[in-house]
């Protein structure tokens, strides 16, 4: 049992660190949930990809470096420690790409992945509907067979990044007569500027259009934009749900970097006699450390031929609650400045704590609510009986 990195891994870390040291913007980019910030973050994706840092774990032919899980973790640690911008392409890179790599055709991979890696095409997700959130399999949007493709109709909600993104991916009901709700669904990709698509941006808690409602009225998509077999969409989407909740959605580097900044903030002026606040800072440090080590253990299991399954639900609950607690502690440390919006001219750290706090509040909701995750933990890891939700 060890925590050692190989010479190659250390060299990889040094290369990433050196690159980031010269390229990370000196001042934070505007929030990626604004038109101006979205464009700036898209440009940053291009900068990353020009030197193959945007998708390090992908195969080289699609713009990656073929990095191992551990190297990806190293990159992420360096990335967030360097204070680099949030990733506007994360929906595509973390959710769609793993599905394509597992179920996509060679043609789809060659066509879709390189422009995703460069930020030329930014993806939004189109899973939830007004009546289908946690009970996603009850979704009603339809895909009707047409000549050479499908016609999509219906309404999608809470589509992250859809206000400014180029394309979206999601599930549509292609066989309304199927015997179970999760059968008869098809996984489809479509352009957000196609005929018949209406995008209505929705302001998140702080008013920024972080997500959108999508109205689809007979939107034509060709067969080559279906992933996997028609009718098998649920299986295709869920096969990588472990990825989403597990190792790839929120890397430990985000939280170890945030915990380091929290400690610096605490040291820079907190009342040393306020042990209640000190304990919360310590808990954030311990939590970030625990999440990093838990992930290393997971990466070691994968390297030893194992897999991440329902354990990924442990991760999701842990990091999402850690993220909120960490940011709440930071805002409390900021005293009267803790209530300033990230847009306030005098907001500490260019508003990054306020922005991070708003972002963290969504964590227990997206990618499967923490209530759903706890059901999964209880039923699949502890073996408790299923019950009414």
């Amino acid at each position: 049992m060890d925590l050692d990195f190989t010479a190659e891994e250390e060299a990889f870390r040094a290369e990433a660190r050196a690159w980031l040291a010269t390229r990370v913007p000196a001042a934070p980019l505007p929030s990626l949930e604004t038109a101006e910030g979205f464009a700036a973050h898209r440009e940053w994706e291009r900068t990353l990809s020009a030197d193959r840092w945007s998708v390090v774990s992908w195969p080289e032919k699609y713009g990656g470096r073929g990095a191992s899980v551990l190297e990806w973790l190293i990159f992420e640690e360096e990335y967030y420690a360097a204070g680099a911008p949030g990733r506007v392409s994360q929906n595509g890179i973390n959710l769609l790409a793993p599905t394509l790599l597992e179920h996509g055709t060679a043609e789809q991979l060659a066509r879709i992945l390189p422009p995703m890696a460069s930020g030329e095409v930014i993806w939004a997700q189109a899973w939830s509907e007004p009546e289908s959130g946690s009970d996603l399999a009850s979704l009603r949007s339809t895909a009707v067979r047409a000549d050479g493709g499908w016609l999509l109709s219906g309404q999608k909600a809470w589509s992250s990044r859809a206000a400014f993104a180029d394309r979206a991916f999601g599930l549509f009901r292609s066989d309304p007569g199927a015997d179970k709700p999760h059968r008869g669904l098809t996984y489809v990709m479509f352009p957000l500027d196609a005929d018949g698509v209406t995008v209505r941006p929705i302001g998140r808690l702080d008013g920024k259009p972080a997500f959108a409602e999508l109205f689809l009225d007979n939107v034509f998509v060709p067969d080559e934009d279906v992933i996997g077999e028609p009718g098998q969409g649920w299986r295709v989407a869920m096969s990588t749900a472990g990825n989403e909740r597990g190792l790839t959605l929120r890397s430990p580097g985000r939280f170890t970097a945030a915990a380091d900044r929290l400690v610096a903030l605490w040291r820079s002026g907190a009342d040393p006699g306020d042990t209640a606040l000190r304990d919360r800072v310590a808990d954030a440090v311990v939590g970030a450390r625990a999440y990093r080590l838990f992930t290393y253990a997971g990466a070691s299991r994968i390297a030893a031929g194992g897999a991440i399954g329902a354990e990924s639900s442990l991760n999701k609950v842990f990091w999402s609650e850690l993220d909120i607690a960490l940011h709440e502690t930071a805002l409390d440390l900021l005293g009267p400045y803790g209530e300033l919006s990230d847009t306030a001219g005098e907001a500490p750290a260019h508003g990054s704590w306020a922005e991070g706090y708003t972002f963290s509040l969504a964590g227990p909701i997206y990618a499967g609510t923490n209530e759903i995750q706890r059901d999964i933990i209880a039923e699949r890891l502890l073996g408790l009986p299923k019950g009414r939700r």
């Binding site: 891994e9 209880a378 073996g383």
Partner: protein, 329 residues
Amino acid sequence: MRFLLDDEQQAFARSLDGMLAAAGTPAVVRAWAAGDTAPGRDVWARLAEAGVFALAVPEQHDGLGPLPVELTVAFTEMGRHAVPGPVVETVAVAAFLDRLGDDAAAAAWLPGIASGKTAASLCLLSDDSPYALDAHAADAVFVVDGDAVRLAGAAGPVQPSVDPARRLARPLGGTVLARGPEVAAAAAHAADVAALATAAQALGLGRTLLARTVEYARQRTQFGVAIGSFQAVKHRLADTLIALEFAQPLIQAAAVVLAAEDPASGREIAAAKVAACEAACAAARTALQVHGALGYTEELDLSLWIRKARALRSAWGTPAACRARVLAP
């Protein structure tokens, strides 16, 4: 990096688990609490035979260690079975003597610790801890007071702990064994080893508390269904598992860092201690709540685990002390 226990370490854990399950530890704990230490010493001898105490003793004194990773494996299993006695204190004394640099003292005590002949206790008066655990049952009680270490001559009256198997007493009198700055350094190292072993023990306790409670929630029916099918119960049990799962790698990493004699090991151990003890206490609260009134009884063996979880929380580093150390510059 391979941040996983190897096959041999996993087999070691399984064999200790099997041995301790067969030993019927609840009865051993109850006997120990009543002052009958014979069944406990019998378990002690079997742990020694399995090599547990030798893990803390260097080879030149008939040991196999120090092997912190294997020690945490062993203490997790001892916690799983709520093994009574000064197990933590004995390995802490071994760590103390290993670090002290007094060859005569090491030769006098370490072989006996490795073989299981000697059960030792340790009291670090300099850390504001007034009691020695199981002073009456130990073969030797080491007391560190400032820059001196002495062997206690006697012990004051037993002050019962919330954990009936933990018999606390003030060490009294005795003869000075060694004096000097190396005593304080060795004591600090011993405190680290004790904190790490306690964290591992707490993890094991929590694992058992959760497993027993899951088992109960699957069997106990109310309103015509198993109570484990209710979300309120499920989610509490899920949170208990999360806390334990994220404490475990902190313990393992602290052991790896301690083995490497990394100067950062104190912070890592403090993080492991606070996370594991909080997880174990939360598991105890969950176990109590889900078992209902039954869980609030002394006769249910679960009470032995519930009460030990509370006691270990303040042993070898309170939550506040651990958190302060996590942030120490």
